[in-house]
Symmetry: C2
Subunit: 256 residues, 2 copies
Amino acid sequence: MTERAESTDNDPLLAGEVDMRRTADSSERAYNTIRKLLVEFTLKPGERINEVQLSRSLGVSRTPIREALNRLASEGFVSLTPNRGFFVRSLSTEGLLDLYELRSIIECAAFKLMCERAEDSEIDRLRQYWEAIVDGYRDQAPDIILAEDEGFHLLIAELSGNPELVGQLSSINARIRFIRRIQIEHPSHDKAQVTSHSAIVAAAVKRDAENGMKLLREHIEMTVSATQQALKDALLKVFAPGNGADLKRRRRARDT
Amino acid sequence: MTERAESTDNDPLLAGEVDMRRTADSSERAYNTIRKLLVEFTLKPGERINEVQLSRSLGVSRTPIREALNRLASEGFVSLTPNRGFFVRSLSTEGLLDLYELRSIIECAAFKLMCERAEDSEIDRLRQYWEAIVDGYRDQAPDIILAEDEGFHLLIAELSGNPELVGQLSSINARIRFIRRIQIEHPSHDKAQVTSHSAIVAAAVKRDAENGMKLLREHIEMTVSATQQALKDALLKVFAPGNGADLKRRRRARDT
DNA sequence: GAACGCAATAGTGTAGACACTTTCTTGACG
DNA sequence: CGTCAAGAAAGTGTCTACACTATTGCGTTC
Protein backbone atom coordinates (compact mmCIF):
# COMPACT_ATOMS: atom_id res chain seq x y z
CA MET A 1 0.00 0.00 0.00
CA THR A 2 2.28 2.73 1.17
CA GLU A 3 5.73 2.50 -0.23
CA ARG A 4 7.48 4.95 1.99
CA ALA A 5 7.82 2.40 4.73
CA GLU A 6 11.37 1.40 3.88
CA SER A 7 12.76 3.54 6.62
CA THR A 8 13.55 0.49 8.72
CA ASP A 9 15.60 -1.10 5.97
CA ASN A 10 18.72 0.89 6.55
CA ASP A 11 18.88 -0.02 10.18
CA PRO A 12 21.21 -3.03 10.38
CA LEU A 13 21.41 -2.88 14.14
CA LEU A 14 17.87 -4.03 14.64
CA ALA A 15 17.56 -6.16 11.56
CA GLY A 16 18.28 -9.46 13.25
CA GLU A 17 16.04 -8.94 16.24
CA VAL A 18 12.77 -7.70 14.91
CA ASP A 19 10.67 -10.74 14.20
CA MET A 20 7.69 -10.79 16.50
CA ARG A 21 5.35 -8.59 14.56
CA ARG A 22 2.09 -7.22 15.84
CA THR A 23 -0.51 -8.26 13.38
CA ALA A 24 -3.13 -5.63 14.21
CA ASP A 25 -5.98 -7.76 13.04
CA SER A 26 -6.80 -9.74 16.13
CA SER A 27 -10.35 -8.48 16.10
CA GLU A 28 -10.87 -9.57 12.54
CA ARG A 29 -9.44 -13.00 13.17
CA ALA A 30 -11.42 -13.35 16.37
CA TYR A 31 -14.54 -12.41 14.46
CA ASN A 32 -13.97 -15.04 11.82
CA THR A 33 -12.99 -17.71 14.27
CA ILE A 34 -15.90 -17.15 16.61
CA ARG A 35 -18.32 -17.00 13.73
CA LYS A 36 -17.04 -20.31 12.54
CA LEU A 37 -17.47 -21.76 16.03
CA LEU A 38 -21.05 -20.56 15.96
CA VAL A 39 -21.80 -21.79 12.48
CA GLU A 40 -20.39 -25.21 13.23
CA PHE A 41 -22.25 -25.53 16.50
CA THR A 42 -19.05 -25.80 18.49
CA LEU A 43 -20.58 -23.07 20.58
CA LYS A 44 -24.03 -24.41 21.20
CA PRO A 45 -27.29 -22.48 21.01
CA GLY A 46 -28.30 -20.92 24.31
CA GLU A 47 -24.84 -21.35 25.75
CA ARG A 48 -23.18 -18.56 27.64
CA ILE A 49 -19.97 -17.39 26.06
CA ASN A 50 -17.06 -17.20 28.44
CA GLU A 51 -14.82 -14.39 27.27
CA VAL A 52 -11.82 -15.38 29.35
CA GLN A 53 -11.91 -18.94 28.12
CA LEU A 54 -12.36 -17.85 24.51
CA SER A 55 -9.56 -15.35 24.71
CA ARG A 56 -7.25 -17.98 26.11
CA SER A 57 -8.11 -20.48 23.41
CA LEU A 58 -7.65 -17.90 20.66
CA GLY A 59 -4.46 -16.57 22.18
CA VAL A 60 -5.55 -12.95 22.35
CA SER A 61 -6.85 -10.71 25.08
CA ARG A 62 -10.49 -10.08 25.82
CA THR A 63 -10.58 -6.77 23.97
CA PRO A 64 -10.63 -8.13 20.40
CA ILE A 65 -12.92 -10.91 21.57
CA ARG A 66 -15.41 -8.38 22.82
CA GLU A 67 -15.15 -6.30 19.66
CA ALA A 68 -15.90 -9.38 17.61
CA LEU A 69 -18.80 -10.34 19.85
CA ASN A 70 -20.30 -6.89 19.55
CA ARG A 71 -20.28 -7.20 15.80
CA LEU A 72 -21.76 -10.67 16.00
CA ALA A 73 -24.45 -9.32 18.28
CA SER A 74 -25.42 -6.71 15.70
CA GLU A 75 -25.65 -9.45 13.12
CA GLY A 76 -27.92 -11.60 15.23
CA PHE A 77 -25.54 -14.44 16.00
CA VAL A 78 -25.32 -13.75 19.70
CA SER A 79 -27.18 -11.65 22.21
CA LEU A 80 -25.91 -9.50 25.01
CA THR A 81 -27.52 -9.16 28.42
CA PRO A 82 -26.01 -6.54 30.71
CA ASN A 83 -23.60 -7.79 33.32
CA ARG A 84 -24.21 -11.35 32.28
CA GLY A 85 -22.41 -11.37 28.99
CA PHE A 86 -22.92 -12.81 25.55
CA PHE A 87 -25.06 -15.82 24.77
CA VAL A 88 -25.22 -17.92 21.65
CA ARG A 89 -28.54 -17.08 20.16
CA SER A 90 -30.60 -20.17 19.83
CA LEU A 91 -32.12 -20.69 16.44
CA SER A 92 -35.41 -22.47 16.71
CA THR A 93 -37.02 -24.18 13.76
CA GLU A 94 -39.37 -21.26 13.66
CA GLY A 95 -36.56 -18.75 13.60
CA LEU A 96 -35.02 -20.62 10.73
CA LEU A 97 -38.23 -20.48 8.76
CA ASP A 98 -38.36 -16.74 9.35
CA LEU A 99 -34.88 -16.41 7.95
CA TYR A 100 -35.68 -18.50 4.91
CA GLU A 101 -38.75 -16.40 4.36
CA LEU A 102 -36.69 -13.25 4.50
CA ARG A 103 -34.24 -14.79 2.11
CA SER A 104 -37.00 -15.61 -0.30
CA ILE A 105 -38.28 -12.05 -0.15
CA ILE A 106 -34.87 -10.55 -0.80
CA GLU A 107 -34.00 -12.92 -3.60
CA CYS A 108 -37.26 -12.57 -5.44
CA ALA A 109 -37.02 -8.82 -5.30
CA ALA A 110 -33.44 -8.99 -6.50
CA PHE A 111 -34.41 -11.19 -9.40
CA LYS A 112 -37.10 -8.81 -10.47
CA LEU A 113 -34.80 -5.82 -10.30
CA MET A 114 -32.17 -7.72 -12.22
CA CYS A 115 -34.64 -8.42 -15.00
CA GLU A 116 -35.54 -4.76 -15.16
CA ARG A 117 -32.12 -3.23 -14.98
CA ALA A 118 -29.23 -5.50 -15.76
CA GLU A 119 -27.29 -5.23 -19.00
CA ASP A 120 -27.45 -8.17 -21.34
CA SER A 121 -23.80 -8.79 -20.66
CA GLU A 122 -24.48 -9.04 -16.97
CA ILE A 123 -27.26 -11.54 -17.44
CA ASP A 124 -24.82 -13.44 -19.53
CA ARG A 125 -22.38 -13.49 -16.67
CA LEU A 126 -25.01 -15.28 -14.63
CA ARG A 127 -25.54 -17.78 -17.40
CA GLN A 128 -21.82 -18.36 -17.71
CA TYR A 129 -21.38 -18.73 -13.97
CA TRP A 130 -23.95 -21.46 -13.87
CA GLU A 131 -22.82 -23.23 -17.02
CA ALA A 132 -19.29 -23.35 -15.73
CA ILE A 133 -20.28 -25.27 -12.63
CA VAL A 134 -23.43 -27.13 -13.57
CA ASP A 135 -21.72 -30.20 -14.93
CA GLY A 136 -19.81 -31.39 -11.93
CA TYR A 137 -22.10 -29.61 -9.51
CA ARG A 138 -23.36 -32.51 -7.46
CA ASP A 139 -20.05 -34.36 -7.38
CA GLN A 140 -18.23 -31.69 -5.40
CA ALA A 141 -17.56 -31.68 -1.71
CA PRO A 142 -20.41 -30.18 0.34
CA ASP A 143 -18.45 -27.04 1.11
CA ILE A 144 -17.84 -26.44 -2.57
CA ILE A 145 -21.45 -27.02 -3.48
CA LEU A 146 -22.51 -24.64 -0.77
CA ALA A 147 -20.11 -21.94 -1.92
CA GLU A 148 -21.18 -22.32 -5.53
CA ASP A 149 -24.82 -22.19 -4.58
CA GLU A 150 -24.36 -19.11 -2.46
CA GLY A 151 -22.34 -17.55 -5.24
CA PHE A 152 -25.15 -18.15 -7.69
CA HIS A 153 -27.77 -16.50 -5.55
CA LEU A 154 -25.45 -13.71 -4.54
CA LEU A 155 -24.69 -12.95 -8.15
CA ILE A 156 -28.38 -12.38 -8.77
CA ALA A 157 -28.41 -9.94 -5.89
CA GLU A 158 -25.41 -8.14 -7.36
CA LEU A 159 -27.04 -7.87 -10.75
CA SER A 160 -30.02 -6.21 -9.10
CA GLY A 161 -27.79 -3.17 -8.89
CA ASN A 162 -28.70 -2.59 -5.27
CA PRO A 163 -25.74 -3.21 -2.96
CA GLU A 164 -28.01 -3.23 0.07
CA LEU A 165 -29.60 -6.41 -1.20
CA VAL A 166 -26.19 -8.00 -1.52
CA GLY A 167 -25.36 -7.08 2.03
CA GLN A 168 -28.63 -8.41 3.37
CA LEU A 169 -28.36 -11.65 1.52
CA SER A 170 -24.77 -12.19 2.64
CA SER A 171 -25.79 -11.67 6.20
CA ILE A 172 -28.71 -14.08 5.92
CA ASN A 173 -26.54 -16.66 4.21
CA ALA A 174 -24.03 -16.57 7.02
CA ARG A 175 -26.73 -17.21 9.55
CA ILE A 176 -28.26 -20.18 7.79
CA ARG A 177 -25.08 -21.59 6.36
CA PHE A 178 -24.76 -24.32 8.95
CA ILE A 179 -28.14 -25.73 8.13
CA ARG A 180 -27.68 -25.45 4.40
CA ARG A 181 -24.48 -27.38 4.77
CA ILE A 182 -26.25 -30.08 6.73
CA GLN A 183 -28.98 -30.20 4.17
CA ILE A 184 -26.53 -30.63 1.33
CA GLU A 185 -24.98 -33.62 3.05
CA HIS A 186 -28.39 -35.07 3.80
CA PRO A 187 -29.83 -37.65 1.40
CA SER A 188 -32.73 -35.32 0.70
CA HIS A 189 -30.42 -33.14 -1.39
CA ASP A 190 -31.36 -34.12 -4.86
CA LYS A 191 -31.09 -33.27 -8.47
CA ALA A 192 -34.15 -31.08 -8.53
CA GLN A 193 -32.07 -28.25 -7.17
CA VAL A 194 -29.83 -28.35 -10.19
CA THR A 195 -32.74 -28.17 -12.60
CA SER A 196 -34.15 -25.32 -10.54
CA HIS A 197 -31.04 -23.27 -11.08
CA SER A 198 -31.04 -23.99 -14.77
CA ALA A 199 -34.66 -22.93 -15.05
CA ILE A 200 -33.94 -19.76 -13.13
CA VAL A 201 -31.12 -18.90 -15.48
CA ALA A 202 -33.41 -19.50 -18.44
CA ALA A 203 -36.00 -17.14 -16.98
CA ALA A 204 -33.31 -14.54 -16.39
CA VAL A 205 -32.14 -14.73 -19.98
CA LYS A 206 -35.71 -14.21 -21.11
CA ARG A 207 -36.07 -11.52 -18.46
CA ASP A 208 -39.21 -13.20 -17.34
CA ALA A 209 -39.44 -11.71 -13.88
CA GLU A 210 -42.75 -13.29 -12.92
CA ASN A 211 -41.76 -16.78 -13.80
CA GLY A 212 -38.27 -16.40 -12.34
CA MET A 213 -39.63 -15.21 -9.03
CA LYS A 214 -42.03 -18.10 -8.95
CA LEU A 215 -39.19 -20.52 -9.63
CA LEU A 216 -37.02 -18.94 -6.98
CA ARG A 217 -39.77 -19.02 -4.42
CA GLU A 218 -40.44 -22.64 -5.15
CA HIS A 219 -36.75 -23.42 -5.16
CA ILE A 220 -36.34 -21.96 -1.70
CA GLU A 221 -39.53 -23.49 -0.38
CA MET A 222 -38.41 -26.83 -1.62
CA THR A 223 -35.12 -26.38 0.12
CA VAL A 224 -36.92 -25.47 3.31
CA SER A 225 -39.12 -28.50 3.35
CA ALA A 226 -36.21 -30.74 2.45
CA THR A 227 -34.39 -29.11 5.31
CA GLN A 228 -36.99 -29.82 7.94
CA GLN A 229 -35.91 -33.36 8.64
CA ALA A 230 -32.25 -32.55 8.21
CA LEU A 231 -32.67 -29.86 10.83
CA LYS A 232 -34.22 -32.21 13.32
CA ASP A 233 -31.45 -34.71 12.80
CA ALA A 234 -28.89 -31.99 13.24
CA LEU A 235 -30.39 -30.73 16.46
CA LEU A 236 -30.51 -34.23 17.82
CA LYS A 237 -26.85 -34.59 17.03
CA VAL A 238 -25.95 -31.31 18.69
CA PHE A 239 -27.78 -32.10 21.87
CA ALA A 240 -26.44 -35.58 21.85
CA PRO A 241 -27.19 -38.00 24.66
CA GLY A 242 -24.73 -37.31 27.41
CA ASN A 243 -25.08 -33.58 27.52
CA GLY A 244 -28.77 -33.65 26.91
CA ALA A 245 -29.22 -31.73 30.13
CA ASP A 246 -28.30 -28.62 28.20
CA LEU A 247 -31.74 -28.58 26.73
CA LYS A 248 -33.42 -27.62 29.96
CA ARG A 249 -30.59 -25.79 31.60
CA ARG A 250 -31.93 -22.39 30.76
CA ARG A 251 -33.83 -20.72 33.51
CA ARG A 252 -34.81 -17.53 31.83
CA ALA A 253 -35.46 -17.88 28.16
CA ARG A 254 -33.73 -14.83 26.82
CA ASP A 255 -34.10 -13.92 23.22
CA THR A 256 -33.24 -10.92 21.27
CA MET B 1 -11.04 11.42 39.16
CA THR B 2 -11.57 8.12 40.91
CA GLU B 3 -9.57 7.46 44.03
CA ARG B 4 -7.89 4.20 44.62
CA ALA B 5 -9.11 3.72 48.20
CA GLU B 6 -6.73 0.80 48.67
CA SER B 7 -9.42 -1.43 47.24
CA THR B 8 -9.92 -3.34 50.46
CA ASP B 9 -13.31 -4.08 51.85
CA ASN B 10 -12.51 -3.37 55.50
CA ASP B 11 -12.20 0.33 55.02
CA PRO B 12 -15.03 2.09 56.84
CA LEU B 13 -13.21 5.39 56.86
CA LEU B 14 -13.96 6.09 53.22
CA ALA B 15 -17.46 4.72 53.25
CA GLY B 16 -19.16 8.09 53.24
CA GLU B 17 -17.36 9.26 50.14
CA VAL B 18 -18.87 6.69 47.79
CA ASP B 19 -19.91 7.92 44.39
CA MET B 20 -22.53 5.66 42.85
CA ARG B 21 -21.51 6.32 39.29
CA ARG B 22 -20.90 2.76 38.18
CA THR B 23 -23.75 2.29 35.78
CA ALA B 24 -22.18 -0.43 33.63
CA ASP B 25 -23.82 0.75 30.46
CA SER B 26 -21.25 3.08 29.00
CA SER B 27 -21.19 1.11 25.79
CA GLU B 28 -24.92 1.33 25.40
CA ARG B 29 -24.98 5.05 26.06
CA ALA B 30 -22.03 5.58 23.77
CA TYR B 31 -23.84 3.66 21.08
CA ASN B 32 -26.96 5.76 21.37
CA THR B 33 -25.08 9.02 21.58
CA ILE B 34 -22.84 8.32 18.62
CA ARG B 35 -25.73 7.10 16.57
CA LYS B 36 -27.53 10.31 17.28
CA LEU B 37 -24.47 12.29 16.25
CA LEU B 38 -24.47 10.38 12.99
CA VAL B 39 -28.17 10.70 12.35
CA GLU B 40 -28.10 14.41 13.01
CA PHE B 41 -25.07 14.97 10.81
CA THR B 42 -23.03 16.30 13.69
CA LEU B 43 -20.50 13.79 12.54
CA LYS B 44 -20.35 14.46 8.85
CA PRO B 45 -20.29 11.89 6.06
CA GLY B 46 -16.80 10.84 5.07
CA GLU B 47 -15.31 12.28 8.22
CA ARG B 48 -12.79 10.35 10.20
CA ILE B 49 -13.91 9.57 13.73
CA ASN B 50 -11.41 10.48 16.38
CA GLU B 51 -11.82 8.02 19.23
CA VAL B 52 -9.86 10.00 21.76
CA GLN B 53 -11.82 13.15 21.12
CA LEU B 54 -15.11 11.29 21.23
CA SER B 55 -14.23 9.53 24.44
CA ARG B 56 -13.31 12.81 26.05
CA SER B 57 -16.52 14.49 25.00
CA LEU B 58 -18.62 11.55 26.21
CA GLY B 59 -16.67 11.26 29.43
CA VAL B 60 -15.79 7.59 29.04
CA SER B 61 -12.73 5.69 27.95
CA ARG B 62 -12.06 4.50 24.45
CA THR B 63 -13.14 0.95 25.18
CA PRO B 64 -16.91 1.52 25.19
CA ILE B 65 -16.50 3.94 22.29
CA ARG B 66 -14.88 1.25 20.23
CA GLU B 67 -17.51 -1.32 21.18
CA ALA B 68 -20.21 1.08 20.05
CA LEU B 69 -18.37 1.83 16.82
CA ASN B 70 -18.02 -1.85 16.05
CA ARG B 71 -21.74 -2.29 16.36
CA LEU B 72 -22.37 0.76 14.22
CA ALA B 73 -20.00 -0.66 11.64
CA SER B 74 -22.03 -3.86 11.44
CA GLU B 75 -25.12 -1.80 10.93
CA GLY B 76 -23.64 0.21 8.11
CA PHE B 77 -23.39 3.58 9.80
CA VAL B 78 -19.62 3.70 9.81
CA SER B 79 -16.81 1.80 8.15
CA LEU B 80 -13.53 0.57 9.52
CA THR B 81 -10.23 0.62 7.70
CA PRO B 82 -7.34 -1.11 9.44
CA ASN B 83 -4.92 1.10 11.32
CA ARG B 84 -6.76 4.18 10.17
CA GLY B 85 -9.89 3.86 12.22
CA PHE B 86 -13.59 4.46 11.77
CA PHE B 87 -15.10 6.74 9.16
CA VAL B 88 -18.60 8.10 8.89
CA ARG B 89 -20.05 6.28 5.97
CA SER B 90 -21.19 8.76 3.45
CA LEU B 91 -24.65 8.24 2.14
CA SER B 92 -24.91 9.33 -1.43
CA THR B 93 -28.23 10.06 -3.06
CA GLU B 94 -27.84 6.76 -4.78
CA GLY B 95 -27.23 4.92 -1.55
CA LEU B 96 -30.32 6.47 -0.13
CA LEU B 97 -32.40 5.30 -3.04
CA ASP B 98 -31.06 1.81 -2.51
CA LEU B 99 -32.17 1.94 1.10
CA TYR B 100 -35.61 3.19 0.21
CA GLU B 101 -35.89 0.44 -2.34
CA LEU B 102 -34.98 -2.14 0.27
CA ARG B 103 -37.50 -0.60 2.60
CA SER B 104 -40.18 -0.87 -0.02
CA ILE B 105 -39.35 -4.51 -0.60
CA ILE B 106 -39.48 -5.38 3.09
CA GLU B 107 -42.66 -3.44 3.76
CA CYS B 108 -44.58 -4.81 0.81
CA ALA B 109 -43.64 -8.34 1.76
CA ALA B 110 -44.64 -7.65 5.34
CA PHE B 111 -47.99 -6.31 4.26
CA LYS B 112 -48.68 -9.36 2.18
CA LEU B 113 -47.77 -11.71 4.99
CA MET B 114 -49.89 -9.71 7.38
CA CYS B 115 -52.89 -10.09 5.11
CA GLU B 116 -52.35 -13.82 4.94
CA ARG B 117 -51.65 -14.55 8.56
CA ALA B 118 -52.72 -11.90 11.03
CA GLU B 119 -55.71 -12.39 13.29
CA ASP B 120 -58.62 -10.06 12.79
CA SER B 121 -57.90 -8.56 16.18
CA GLU B 122 -54.37 -7.75 15.10
CA ILE B 123 -55.50 -6.03 11.96
CA ASP B 124 -57.81 -4.11 14.18
CA ARG B 125 -54.88 -2.99 16.27
CA LEU B 126 -53.42 -1.44 13.16
CA ARG B 127 -56.66 0.33 12.43
CA GLN B 128 -56.89 1.60 15.99
CA TYR B 129 -53.28 2.73 15.98
CA TRP B 130 -53.88 4.86 12.94
CA GLU B 131 -57.26 6.18 14.00
CA ALA B 132 -55.82 7.28 17.29
CA ILE B 133 -53.25 9.52 15.67
CA VAL B 134 -54.74 10.48 12.33
CA ASP B 135 -56.59 13.51 13.54
CA GLY B 136 -53.81 15.61 14.90
CA TYR B 137 -51.21 13.89 12.76
CA ARG B 138 -49.88 16.81 10.79
CA ASP B 139 -49.99 19.29 13.64
CA GLN B 140 -47.42 17.49 15.75
CA ALA B 141 -43.77 18.31 16.06
CA PRO B 142 -41.62 16.69 13.36
CA ASP B 143 -40.10 14.24 15.79
CA ILE B 144 -43.53 13.06 16.86
CA ILE B 145 -44.75 12.69 13.31
CA LEU B 146 -41.67 10.72 12.47
CA ALA B 147 -42.09 8.40 15.44
CA GLU B 148 -45.75 7.86 14.67
CA ASP B 149 -45.03 7.17 11.04
CA GLU B 150 -42.28 4.71 11.88
CA GLY B 151 -44.56 3.09 14.41
CA PHE B 152 -47.23 2.62 11.80
CA HIS B 153 -44.96 0.90 9.34
CA LEU B 154 -43.25 -1.09 12.04
CA LEU B 155 -46.58 -2.37 13.28
CA ILE B 156 -47.28 -3.79 9.85
CA ALA B 157 -43.95 -5.58 10.02
CA GLU B 158 -44.84 -6.96 13.42
CA LEU B 159 -48.19 -8.21 12.22
CA SER B 160 -46.43 -10.09 9.46
CA GLY B 161 -45.45 -12.52 12.19
CA ASN B 162 -41.84 -12.58 11.08
CA PRO B 163 -39.55 -10.93 13.62
CA GLU B 164 -36.72 -10.78 11.12
CA LEU B 165 -38.71 -8.32 9.07
CA VAL B 166 -39.16 -6.15 12.12
CA GLY B 167 -35.44 -6.17 12.77
CA GLN B 168 -34.60 -5.34 9.19
CA LEU B 169 -37.07 -2.51 9.01
CA SER B 170 -35.89 -1.04 12.29
CA SER B 171 -32.36 -1.05 11.05
CA ILE B 172 -33.30 0.58 7.78
CA ASN B 173 -35.39 3.18 9.55
CA ALA B 174 -32.49 4.16 11.74
CA ARG B 175 -30.30 4.69 8.73
CA ILE B 176 -32.74 6.88 6.84
CA ARG B 177 -34.24 8.62 9.83
CA PHE B 178 -32.25 11.79 9.36
CA ILE B 179 -33.54 12.29 5.87
CA ARG B 180 -37.11 11.42 6.76
CA ARG B 181 -36.95 14.01 9.46
CA ILE B 182 -35.71 16.60 7.03
CA GLN B 183 -38.40 15.68 4.58
CA ILE B 184 -41.10 16.06 7.19
CA GLU B 185 -39.93 19.56 7.96
CA HIS B 186 -39.70 20.40 4.30
CA PRO B 187 -42.66 22.15 2.62
CA SER B 188 -43.03 19.16 0.32
CA HIS B 189 -44.48 17.15 3.17
CA ASP B 190 -48.13 17.21 2.41
CA LYS B 191 -51.47 15.74 3.16
CA ALA B 192 -51.23 13.01 0.59
CA GLN B 193 -49.21 10.98 3.04
CA VAL B 194 -52.06 10.97 5.49
CA THR B 195 -54.54 9.73 2.92
CA SER B 196 -52.01 7.10 1.90
CA HIS B 197 -51.93 5.69 5.38
CA SER B 198 -55.68 5.64 5.60
CA ALA B 199 -55.93 3.84 2.30
CA ILE B 200 -53.36 1.31 3.42
CA VAL B 201 -55.33 0.62 6.57
CA ALA B 202 -58.46 0.14 4.51
CA ALA B 203 -56.69 -2.37 2.29
CA ALA B 204 -55.44 -4.18 5.36
CA VAL B 205 -58.93 -4.46 6.81
CA LYS B 206 -60.11 -5.92 3.54
CA ARG B 207 -56.97 -8.06 3.46
CA ASP B 208 -56.43 -6.90 -0.06
CA ALA B 209 -52.73 -7.71 -0.34
CA GLU B 210 -52.32 -6.72 -3.96
CA ASN B 211 -53.85 -3.31 -3.58
CA GLY B 212 -52.15 -2.68 -0.25
CA MET B 213 -48.74 -3.48 -1.66
CA LYS B 214 -49.40 -1.19 -4.57
CA LEU B 215 -50.41 1.60 -2.20
CA LEU B 216 -47.37 1.04 -0.03
CA ARG B 217 -45.04 1.04 -2.98
CA GLU B 218 -46.56 4.25 -4.26
CA HIS B 219 -46.51 5.75 -0.80
CA ILE B 220 -42.81 5.10 -0.46
CA GLU B 221 -42.04 6.16 -4.00
CA MET B 222 -43.90 9.37 -3.42
CA THR B 223 -41.89 9.95 -0.29
CA VAL B 224 -38.70 9.32 -2.19
CA SER B 225 -39.43 11.77 -4.92
CA ALA B 226 -40.64 14.35 -2.42
CA THR B 227 -37.39 13.74 -0.60
CA GLN B 228 -35.13 14.41 -3.54
CA GLN B 229 -35.19 18.16 -3.25
CA ALA B 230 -35.20 18.04 0.53
CA LEU B 231 -32.10 15.90 0.38
CA LYS B 232 -30.27 18.32 -1.86
CA ASP B 233 -31.15 21.19 0.43
CA ALA B 234 -29.99 19.21 3.42
CA LEU B 235 -26.67 18.29 1.87
CA LEU B 236 -26.08 21.89 0.94
CA LYS B 237 -26.73 22.87 4.51
CA VAL B 238 -24.41 20.21 5.89
CA PHE B 239 -21.57 21.03 3.56
CA ALA B 240 -22.08 24.68 4.14
CA PRO B 241 -20.06 27.23 2.17
CA GLY B 242 -16.62 27.22 3.71
CA ASN B 243 -15.98 23.50 3.73
CA GLY B 244 -17.73 22.72 0.50
CA ALA B 245 -14.70 20.88 -0.78
CA ASP B 246 -15.80 17.89 1.26
CA LEU B 247 -18.34 16.93 -1.34
CA LYS B 248 -15.84 15.40 -3.69
CA ARG B 249 -13.51 13.95 -1.12
CA ARG B 250 -14.84 10.41 -1.49
CA ARG B 251 -12.21 8.23 -3.01
CA ARG B 252 -13.20 4.69 -2.23
CA ALA B 253 -16.62 3.75 -1.04
CA ARG B 254 -16.08 1.17 1.63
CA ASP B 255 -18.70 -1.10 3.02
CA THR B 256 -18.90 -3.69 5.70
C1' DG C 1 -34.74 -31.06 55.77
C1' DA C 2 -35.85 -26.72 53.25
C1' DA C 3 -35.44 -21.74 53.00
C1' DC C 4 -32.46 -18.07 53.80
C1' DG C 5 -28.60 -15.29 54.28
C1' DC C 6 -23.61 -14.64 53.60
C1' DA C 7 -18.98 -15.33 52.23
C1' DA C 8 -16.09 -16.99 48.33
C1' DT C 9 -15.59 -17.40 43.48
C1' DA C 10 -16.08 -16.52 38.74
C1' DG C 11 -16.94 -13.33 35.15
C1' DT C 12 -18.20 -8.89 32.97
C1' DG C 13 -17.45 -3.71 32.07
C1' DT C 14 -14.29 -0.04 31.78
C1' DA C 15 -10.02 2.44 32.40
C1' DG C 16 -5.40 3.30 31.41
C1' DA C 17 -0.90 1.97 29.45
C1' DC C 18 1.92 0.87 25.76
C1' DA C 19 3.39 -0.74 21.08
C1' DC C 20 2.81 0.08 16.49
C1' DT C 21 1.13 2.84 12.33
C1' DT C 22 -0.12 6.74 10.02
C1' DT C 23 0.13 11.60 9.40
C1' DC C 24 2.25 15.96 9.93
C1' DT C 25 6.35 18.97 10.20
C1' DT C 26 10.74 20.41 9.23
C1' DG C 27 14.96 20.88 7.03
C1' DA C 28 18.47 19.29 3.62
C1' DC C 29 19.33 18.54 -1.18
C1' DG C 30 18.44 18.70 -6.36
C1' DC D 1 10.66 26.10 -5.53
C1' DG D 2 9.80 21.23 -5.32
C1' DT D 3 10.98 16.62 -3.61
C1' DC D 4 12.08 13.73 -0.31
C1' DA D 5 13.59 11.82 4.10
C1' DA D 6 13.81 11.65 8.91
C1' DG D 7 11.94 12.81 13.23
C1' DA D 8 7.81 14.39 15.96
C1' DA D 9 3.08 14.16 16.84
C1' DA D 10 -1.27 12.08 16.62
C1' DG D 11 -4.05 8.10 16.57
C1' DT D 12 -5.27 3.22 16.47
C1' DG D 13 -5.00 -1.76 18.21
C1' DT D 14 -4.34 -4.62 22.01
C1' DC D 15 -3.08 -5.88 26.67
C1' DT D 16 -3.45 -5.83 31.62
C1' DA D 17 -5.53 -4.34 35.79
C1' DC D 18 -9.19 -3.60 38.66
C1' DA D 19 -14.00 -2.31 40.19
C1' DC D 20 -18.33 -4.10 40.08
C1' DT D 21 -22.01 -7.76 39.38
C1' DA D 22 -23.77 -12.38 39.25
C1' DT D 23 -23.37 -17.04 40.81
C1' DT D 24 -22.12 -20.70 43.58
C1' DG D 25 -21.45 -23.13 47.80
C1' DC D 26 -21.76 -23.41 52.67
C1' DG D 27 -23.49 -22.83 57.20
C1' DT D 28 -27.43 -21.25 60.04
C1' DT D 29 -32.09 -21.01 61.42
C1' DC D 30 -36.73 -22.54 61.73
